[in-house]
Amino acid sequence: MNIGPCVLSKNYIFNEFMLNRRINKIGFVFTLPSIMFFIFFISIPILFTIFLTFTSWKGFDLSQIKLIGFANYIEVFRDKIFLKSFLQTTIFVVLTTIFLNLFGFVGALIIDTKIPGTRFLKNAIFLPVLLSPIIIGIMWSRMLDAFGIINKIIQTIGLTKLPILFLGSSKIALYTIIIATLWQFTGYDMLLYYAGLQGIPKELTEAARIDGANEYRVITRIIIPTLSPVMTITMLLNIIGGFKVFDIVYVMTAGGPNRSSEVLATYLFQQAFRFNNMGFASVIAIVIILISLVISIIRLKVTNQSI
């Protein structure tokens, strides 16, 4: 009895065509608000930042923007403080990435044993992930202060008589911030690794153990190779996160003392909103954007291959 469409075929195709056109239009309407937000608050800002790198501008009156060619680029790349903050950001990224992955991986292995208490440990390690970096910064600044708990403990044990100025010493301020960051985000990496561990069939590791492999061999021969895609993604996420670090540095040291903990984002902020050097600051912004772009492209390539 299904002859309807045959008889009406011409009409049917026409209707289908009109329907598709109408649907296409609706599709565009559905995406329009997102497109508008993207254009106004992401695309235009990026283009404007690129434009500003070629100008000298104090940031107040748009009519006072002066084109000065590549002068800002030359100035920035010759600027000792920029190079210092670039180096320090790199140190921050490298150390946080290595240790977050290490601690996260070990933490995941411990939790995966499912010994009583691991549930508590998991929540304890994950708790700081829930807090904002501002809060972490405030907590650790107080803990590491001359009157804070860490100096109390050190002095009680008798390691030093005078309190250590963790954030006031240009030699260790950056590393102190790194330690606070490790405390905050170990739980994040741990959960990613833990999720990865759940994907490894228990039979695989059991069989290896029965065949006489010790824990070390099980980890290096089975677990690490299987988790390498997880490891890549986690590391790339840590690297991207590290290059844009701002909040915790701003709260703990604001880049000091003596710029010893200055990172790219804090230097950009200072140049733009304290010294009003918009052109100079925009070059730093472009550096940050380029770094995240490169790493994200690597991430895209890697994830497309491995998942």
Binding site: S34, F37, L62, I115, P116, L130, I153, Y188, A265
Partner: protein, 270 residues
């Protein structure tokens, strides 16, 4: 057996060691003025009134309210427009929709810190500087790409036949979207909501440059501001830290699995 108990104990000890910063700050928040610098952990006297004093001195009610307004408004609008866009990218494609999708995805790679200058300039020229609108608008823009990515992935997993059946039954696209797609997508929407909530609730640098008046400050900027005043009493700051952390922690305990999913949503394949 004994080995097991020892292992278990070691795990508990490790967990408690990890929590020392939190426990210490909590002890700090209960101390009297005089004990702040001298005590190591908890003191005999317990001063719960620190919380009341901190609440009033730092105007926490206002800070909470501001954070709630900004976060809820931005998360809600992001959800609405990103789910509409994601649905179109998945199921009502038009000629250039794939290209548009990939361009929007590029937004994931742009850290807010890198475009604070133009955002500041735009908001000033729109007359939105020093208003909550400026924050809400920029949070929407920064939340969109990842929301679209996650939701599109989910919508692609909804069988096409379902949508076509609805079309044949005469349901228009808007109706199909709200009556069929949205109710089916609750898990994905929950993930995105939590991800956006955490991102916007904790956001700092944009709030720092876009707000000038203290009465508009959100929690992170408010907290950072009164720590910046060096004479602010430690026990009150500590109370503030605890108070601001509690709501997120409670939500986490209530919906742990969802929460972890939402927080790690940034790690989904891009």
């Amino acid at each position: 057996m004994i080995k097991k108990i020892i292992r278990s104990m070691l795990i508990y000890i490790l967990g408690i060691l990890f929590l020392i910063p939190v426990i210490w700050v909590f002890s700090l928040s209960l101390r009297s003025k005089n004990d702040v610098f001298s005590a190591v952990f908890f003191t005999k006297e317990i001063h719960f009134e620190n919380y009341v004093i901190a609440w009033e001195t730092f105007n926490f009610g206002k800070l909470f309210l501001n954070s709630i307004i900004v976060t809820f408004a931005s998360v809600f609008v992001t959800l609405v427009i990103s789910s509409l866009a994601a649905y179109a990218f998945a199921r009502i494609k038009y000629k250039t929709s794939d290209i548009v999708f990939y361009i929007i995805l590029l937004g994931i790679m742009i850290p807010p810190a890198a475009i604070i200058i133009p955002i500041f300039v735009i908001m000033k020229n729109l007359g939105l500087y020093n208003t909550h609108f400026s924050l809400i608008l920029s949070y929407i823009a920064f939340g969109l790409p990842i929301a679209v990515l996650i939701l599109r992935g989910f919508f692609l997993s909804i069988p096409k036949e379902l949508i076509e059946a609805a079309r044949i039954d005469g349901s228009n696209e808007v109706g199909t979207f709200f009556r069929i797609i949205i109710p089916l997508s609750r898990p994905a929407l929950a993930t995105v909501t939590i991800f956006l909530f955490m991102q916007n609730w904790n956001e700092f640098i944009l709030a720092l440059i876009l707000l000038k008046d203290k009465i508009l400050y959100t929690l992170p900027v408010g907290l950072a501001n009164f720590v910046g005043q060096w004479d602010s009493p430690w026990q009150l700051v500590a109370a503030g830290v605890i108070v601001t952390s509690i709501p997120v922690f409670i939500i986490y305990l209530l919906i742990q699995d969802q929460f972890v999913k939402g927080l790690t949503a940034g790690a989904v394949k891009g």
